[in-house]
Every structure is written in C-alpha cells, then in structure tokens.
C-alpha cells in the first residue's frame, strides 16, 4: 500500500526520472506543464548571462529548448555547439513551463540541477581536396573562355578597322 502511494505521488510530483525528448515535451506541453522533468542534450550557441541566472539552449537532436539556470551551475560547461565545436552533453532536471509567466510565455525549463554527461570537443574539418581541384579546373576554363572571347572581339574589331 505504502509502495503504491509512493509511486502514485512520484508520478505526479516528480514526473519522470527518464529523460524526455523535446518532441514529447513540445507535443504534450499541457501535460508536462509545471512538472519536474529530466531533459538531456547538447548545449548550443552562447550561454547568455542575465544577472545571477543565465539562459542556455540545449538541443537533443530534434529541437533546442531554453533552460533558465543559476550561473553558478554552468561553470563546468566548456564547449557549446556550433560549426567548429561539438557542445558538452548535459542532463537537466527542472520544472517544465509551457508558457512561463516570468519569461513572457516562453516554453522552457527552470533548471534545479545540471549534470555534465559528456564532454564536447573541437570538430576537425578536413580540407576538401577534390573541391580545390574542381575550383582550379573551373578557373582554367573561365580564363580560357575570357581569353577566347577577347581574342574574338579583337579579331572582329581589327577586321572592321581594315574594311
């Protein structure tokens, strides 16, 4: 009986111990509104400091969701995702808001805790040699076309002068 009640309370107070995807949260925002959720993903873009708090945006591969979090909790985040970097993977536990009154109706999460579950890194982009070869080839063709065109114009001009 005690176990059953605990599980029932757990279901309503601390909604889900398993991470919930952004698709699930957005598509069922009314159901999750006000509940404590766990959400994981990659930190992307800039971490925007706003006084004692900050906004970070976390993308789980489908959508990015804004996380409102105390600045002191994001000190461990070293990498944020962009073209040059893969961002740190984090697990957020916090209150999901479908339309946060404090933040102008934004769909977001007020984080209670954050755990870094994977480190980001710099992405190495190998220079595309095939593309360089194509560019060089095409440059040669364009120069040839321009020379041919100018030669033809010069020929017709000189022919016109002679007559």
């Amino acid at each position: 009986m005690f176990m059953a009640c605990s599980l029932w309370l757990l279901a309503f107070g601390y909604s889900f111990a398993q991470p919930i995807s952004s698709i699930e949260l957005i598509n069922n925002a009314k159901f999750y509104d006000g509940k404590i959720v766990v959400y994981t993903g990659e930190v992307i873009g800039d971490m925007m400091a706003r006084g004692e708090y900050a906004w970070i945006n976390v993308n789980d591969g489908n959508n990015a969701i804004g996380i409102w979090i105390k600045r002191e909790l994001i000190g461990d985040i070293l990498y944020t995702g962009n073209y040059q970097q893969k961002g740190d993977l984090v697990e957020i536990k916090g209150k999901f808001n479908r339309a946060c009154v404090e933040h102008g109706g934004d769909l977001e999460i007020h984080a209670e805790s954050i755990t870094k579950i994977g480190s980001g890194s710099t992405i190495l982009h190998q220079v595309n040699q095939k593309e360089i070869n194509l560019i060089l080839g095409l440059t040669g063709i364009i120069v040839a076309v321009l020379l041919l065109r100018n030669a033809k114009l010069h020929f017709y001009k000189s022919k016109g002068n002679k007559t």
Binding site: I44, W55, N63, Y83, A99, G104, L107, E131, L134, L138
Partner: protein, 501 residues
C-alpha cells in the same frame, strides 16, 4: 494564332538571364571572403568559390553566345524575371547542398527559393552547427531577393532603357519612386544598405546586452536584420527568435519587421521629410486597421482557450506572432507545433487572414498587399454610393497614396484579378496538402504561408514531407513573390514555343 518565339526572343532572354547569373556569382564572393578571412572556415569558403565560379561561367557563356543590344519587349522582360529566379534558385542551392545540411538538392532549392522570395520556410538540418558562411548566405538570399534579383542587374549592368522598366515590373513592382527606373533600383538598394548598417548596430548592441558574445551579437544582428527587414524570417539558430529569450530583442525585431513591410515609395517620402504621408497613406491606414482586427481575432481565440495565463504573456506572444504574420516575416517565438496543439482554430484563422492580406505594395512583404485591400474597400464604397445616390449622380471615389488618386474601374479590376489569383493559390496549395493527409486548416495555414511569402509554419514544412508538396510550395513562393504575371508569361512563352506557328 499563337506565334512561336523567334531566335531573337531567346537570345534576348538568355543574354539578360546571363547578366543576372554573373551578378549572382559575384554576390557569392561575399560569403567566400567572409568565410576565408573572418570566420576561418575553409571548406565553406571553398563551397562558395566553386559555386561562384559555376554561376559566373554559366553567365559568361550565355552573355557571349547570346550577345545582343536589342530592346526588350514586355514578354521578354517578364520571362527574364521568372527564369532568372529559377536559375538563381538552382545555382544558390549548390553551396547549401555542399554544406551537408540538406537531405537533398530539392531541399536546398526549397531553401534558396524560400530565401529569395523572402518566405522563410526552412528545410535545413542541424542549423545550430551550420557554418557562419552558409548561414550568411541563407540570410543574404532574402536581402538580395527582397530588393529584387533582376533589380541588381538593373542597378549594375543595364544602362537604362524601356526594357529595364519591364524587368522592374516583372518582379512585382510597378511603382516608380524616381522618374528613372535605374535610379529607383539604386535608391531601393541605398536605403536598404543604410538601414542594414543601423539595424545591425542596434541588434548587435542589444545582443551584447542580453549576453551574446560580441562577434555573435553582430553576426546575429546582421542576419536578423537582413531577414527581418526583408520580411523573410530566417534566423541563425534553430529556435528562431525564441533562442534569445529577450523582450527587448523582440521589440527591436518588431520595429524592423514593420519598417520592412512598408512601401519603398513611403520610405522615399519619409526620406524627403514628408512625415505626414505615414498618416495619410491608404496603405498604412489599411495596415493599422487590418492588424487591429486580426489581432482582436487572435486575442479572443487565445483568451477563450486560456492559452496564456495573463494579458502580458498573451500580448507578448500573440502580438509578436501577429505582426510577424501580417508583415509576412515569419519570425517565431513559439514552436511550430504550438500553433496547432495550443492556439486553437479561432486564433489560427486570425493568423491566416493576417498572412493572406500581407504587407504593403512595393515593399519586401508578400500577400495580397494593403494597397489592393484598401482599393477593394474604396471600390465597395463607390458601388454602395452608386446604389444609394440618384441614378444621374456622378460618383467619384478617391484615395491618397503618395498623391490623390481617383479610383477607376480598370484599376479595381486589375486589383481584383491579382487578389483572386492569390486566393486561388492559397486554396489550391491547401487542397494538395489535404490530398497528402494533412488536416484542412493546417494545410491552409502552410499554403497561405508559402504563397504569401510569410514563413510561419504549423509543422507541415519538414524534410520528410512529400516531394510534390515541396515542389508545390516552391511554385507558390515563386509565383506569390512575382505576383503571377511573370510566371504566367513564362508558361505562355513555353506553350508558344511548343504549339506556336
């Protein structure tokens, strides 16, 4: 009897399409140089160098083989415009395809057509990891297309001729701001660049204040300005404007969207110091009235369902989305699915009406246009007066648009023809969406968004949507931006080429 196009027609058309193609190739050097020198992104820079060379090569061939100095007629001018936009779509899709962020070449073409037509519907994958160079190109597209792809050619390459006016009209503009259409084209570009500098600085400063790194603040500022002023709606991050979580950023963006949706002729009047025009002009008055009515519908719909718990959040979300839709920008501060899952049918109908009506004529905005809506109501008033007054009474109707204009039947007829074309394309696109299993209201929302060049999405626009639907939206965006005449001219040209004698 339909006359088959002659060789001279084809040469004329190909020559000027070649000029536009060369111009497009040169614009690709912007992300190439930025990528190599400032962003230190070698592969993206190479993508743009290769694409620029392909465009310049194609343009050089066309201008060389089809060299001509003959004047353009109306048919040729219109076909040049519609064909140039298709060629630009294909060539501009090359660097985006090479980025690896699009599932197919068709998706990249969808993106570039969406950009050039200042729509803003997007099929990009993993936008948050897209290079600065490719992102810059996504936002340059609306800046170029909003002012006019063929207008670039006019401003740079054409010496000034009757043909240039035909090309100008072919791009959905028929208002001469200055007596010479080349000067008009140059004025449009000048004012856009001035606003670009002011807008980028304003958004950059706000961006830094809200916590963005300085280089990102100004990069985002430039991108958001280009897409906002040109009422396109592209943003550098996947969350669109929601990424910034900032009321002040949204306010600045609203101002930029409204500025972008105003008639260039009005901008010229304000530039000259004629501020009264803002109040007297039929378009600004119609826009204000229309925005108030559609916002009322949206607000009632949202309030009825209790979507937002207080008036401030309702206003912030509802008003922003309404302005975004009515100016046909397409910026979003909610997720696409929230339109369908939370906003409800009444608010959605309000949004669809706002999108369908659109912004001002001779601006970067899409939709039916406020000038046409205003003229329709003036024509209605005139007809009511004719019925109410004695039969032998002479009824005239006038309105103010830069100057006093007396409403004529031919004008009302032309307005109604284009309005009916827009409504037809909205419904046809919706029916194709329904055919593929999407609910009618969702399909109508997305179809109107595409054809009115808005860019708001309720979730249908996605890489997984059927290819036919992608092609449908591409055609809608293209036809809507060019206001149909050039597109009809191209189809007529092709039919004449096949069936003509």
């Amino acid at each position: 009897m339909i006359l088959k196009p002659q060789l001279n027609d084809i040469k004329n058309i190909a020559y000027y399409v070649g000029k536009v193609t060369i111009g497009l190739g040169f614009t690709m050097f912007v992300p190439f140089i930025m990528g190599l020198v400032f962003f230190k992104e070698v592969n993206p820079a190479l993508d743009f160098l290769l694409s620029a060379e392909i465009a310049v090569f194609c343009g050089l061939l066309l201008t060389w083989v089809c060299a001509t100095d003959k004047e353009l007629n109306w048919m040729q001018g219109m076909v040049i415009v519609s064909l140039s936009w298709l060629v630009a779509m294909v060539l501009s899709a090359i660097p985006l395809t090479l980025s690896g962020h699009y599932k197919s070449f068709l998706d990249a073409c969808f993106e570039t057509m969406s950009g050039f037509t200042t729509t803003g519907l997007t099929l990009v994958q993993d936008l948050d990891h897209l290079s600065y160079s490719h992102n810059l190109w996504r936002h340059l597209g609306p800046f170029i297309g909003g002012q006019g792809i063929a207008i670039i050619a006019l401003a740079l390459f054409m010496k000034g001729s009757a043909g240039s006016f035909k090309v100008y009209v072919g791009e959905g503009r028929d208002e001469k701001i200055l007596p010479n259409v080349i000067h008009t084209a140059r004025f449009i570009w000048l004012i856009s660049i001035v606003y670009l500098v002011i807008g980028t600085i304003a958004l950059g400063i706000v961006g830094m204040r809200i916590g963005l790194k300085p280089q990102n603040a100004f990069f985002h500022g430039a991108c958001i300005f280009m897409a906002g002023y040109d009422t396109a709606g592209f943003a550098p991050q996947s969350q669109n404007i929601l990424y910034y979580h900032s009321a002040i950023f949204e306010i600045v963006t609203i101002i930029i969207m409204i500025v972008g949706s105003l008639n260039f002729n009005l901008h010229y009047q304000l530039w000259k110091g004629n501020r009264k025009e803002l109040v007297k002009n039929i378009e600004t008055r119609t826009l204000l009235l229309s925005a108030m009515l559609t916002f009322f519908i949206v607000a009632v719909g949202l309030n009825k369902l209790g979507v937002y718990s207080n008036i401030f959040t309702l206003f912030r979300k509802g008003f922003f989305q309404l302005v975004s839709g009515h100016t046909t920008t397409g910026y979003m501060t909610i997720y696409a699915q929230q339109f369908i899952k939370e906003w409800g049918d009444l608010a959605l109908v309000g949004m669809i009406i706002a999108m369908a009506l659109g912004g001002c004529a001779c601006s970067t905005a899409g939709g039916i246009k406020m000038l046409r809506v205003g003229i329709i109501f003036e024509a209605l008033q005139q007809d009511i007066k004719k019925i109410a007054l004695p039969e032998n009474a002479i009824v005239t109707q006038k309105f103010h648009h830069i100057k006093t204009v007396f409403l004529e039947d031919a004008q009302a007829r032309a307005v109604l023809l284009i309005t009916m074309s827009y409504i037809t394309i909205y419904v046809l696109g919706a029916l194709i969406g329904v055919w593929y299993g999407y609910p009618f209201l969702n399909s109508l929302f997305e179809s109107t968004s595409a054809a009115a060049n808005v860019g708001l999405s309720c979730g249908i626009t996605d890489a997984s949507m059927p290819a036919i639907l992608k092609v449908t939206y591409i055609i809608q965006m293209w036809a809507g931006r060019l206001e149909f005449m050039s597109v009809f001219a191209l189809f007529g040209f092709l039919i004449a080429a096949i069936k003509g004698k």
